[in-house]
Symmetry: C2
Subunit: 222 residues, 2 copies
């Protein structure tokens, strides 16, 4: 199961459609769409049906809201004053209903820095630890995946140039192989942003491992 969620952040319709097509060409199973707040309006504009829409819908008109209701199997309208963000509330619903899916979040990066950080900070939340490696934040110039301790592989996204490892906590024994700047069991006593690494020429995969900590991997381009 592939779950594609669109949030309220910067969004590129053509990029989204290409992304969904690429994922579905390579994966098994069904694709479902989830609209978060302004993201739900974006599915309506693309004439796509959502399994679920959630938000306070403060920024859409009553007519738009009716279109969202017509295009979604399920809608939850939240109180604008709440502790968790719409994206988190939506992801909680999605994880409950599709516990073994891949979760692709678009419209979650770019724009307000605090919003982007809030979405990245999901890496710290206890309720997402089990599914951490199945959450992907996708933006035309920035792809983010999360890593828990242990062995990992990263597949190159064809149009991206740089490969950055953002240590979100202290990290023990980080090894990176098949990259331009490899590491062998490096230990960092405080969070470090190891940016602008690259895959080796003609390599489409790299691998690594670490013993403790949490890491966000970002593939990006200028």
């Amino acid at each position: 199961m592939q779950v594609f969620m669109i949030g309220s952040g910067p969004f590129d319709e053509a990029y989204f459609k290409q992304y969904v097509e690429d994922v579905m060409d390579n994966k098994h199973g069904e694709a479902v769409y989830v609209g978060i707040d302004l993201g739900a309006k974006r599915f309506v504009e693309m004439d796509e049906t959502m399994v679920f829409a959630l938000g306070d819908f403060d920024s859409v008109s009553e007519t738009d809201y009716q279109h969202i209701v017509d295009n979604a199997n399920d809608v939850i309208r939240l109180n604008p004053m709440k502790d968790e963000t719409d994206m988190q509330a939506g992801l909680n619903w999605v994880i409950d209903h599709y516990p073994n899916a891949e979760y692709h979040l678009l419209g979650a990066l770019g724009g307000r820095v605090d919003h982007s950080l809030c979405n990245l900070w999901m890496i710290f939340m206890p309720e997402y630890q089990r599914v951490l490696e199945h959450i992907h934040l996708i933006h035309p110039k920035n792809w983010v995946n999360f890593l828990s301790p242990g062995q990992f592989q990263v597949n190159k996204v064809s149009e991206m140039t740089y490969l950055s490892f953002i240590l979100m906590t202290p990290v023990q024994e980080l090894t990176l192989t098949d990259v331009v700047y490899p590491l062998d069991r490096a230990t960092y006593r405080y969070p470090m942003a190891l940016i602008s690494n690259e895959f080796l020429a003609n390599h489409t995969q790299m691998s690594g491992s670490f013993k403790t900590g949490l890491i966000a991997v970002i593939q990006s381009r200028d």
Copy 2:
């Protein structure tokens, strides 16, 4: 002493000029300009003299590089392969030369997410702990300040709407007063992004305190 540094990230010349004017209207002492890589070219384009320019200057032409040399009292050209970023190398130079200044960094947020995070991650680096509260990351829609444990005040930036506290580490006993969502000695066992708080109506300052941890304060607008 006010040090204005421009980096290679998204940059708005009109916004920069207004920002410098506003800071200098409110502060004592001299203003100096520091250009980091592509940021040095931006000072040349504004016909401003830099005390210092630093970068690998990979992305500027030889002619542009000559103009940078002509417009800067001091220039360091770095090897493109290096461990620290240009912005960090530049900030190190600036802190050595102007140890008691305020450091205003523009062109440090927006664009590549890994670059923005790298600049935010300065909050963790031991060499910046002494000057942490004098570093400001400035972007037309996102202003970031860093807080160390103890009492703090935040002054409202007039055109911004939201006030977010990004807990970069676990935080003990966080108190926030004179805000829409106050807190009284709240403790967080893992980093949390407390976003979309606001100053109280007719208040231009809020205050707070915390006992342990590190916090980035972001004032932003849509």
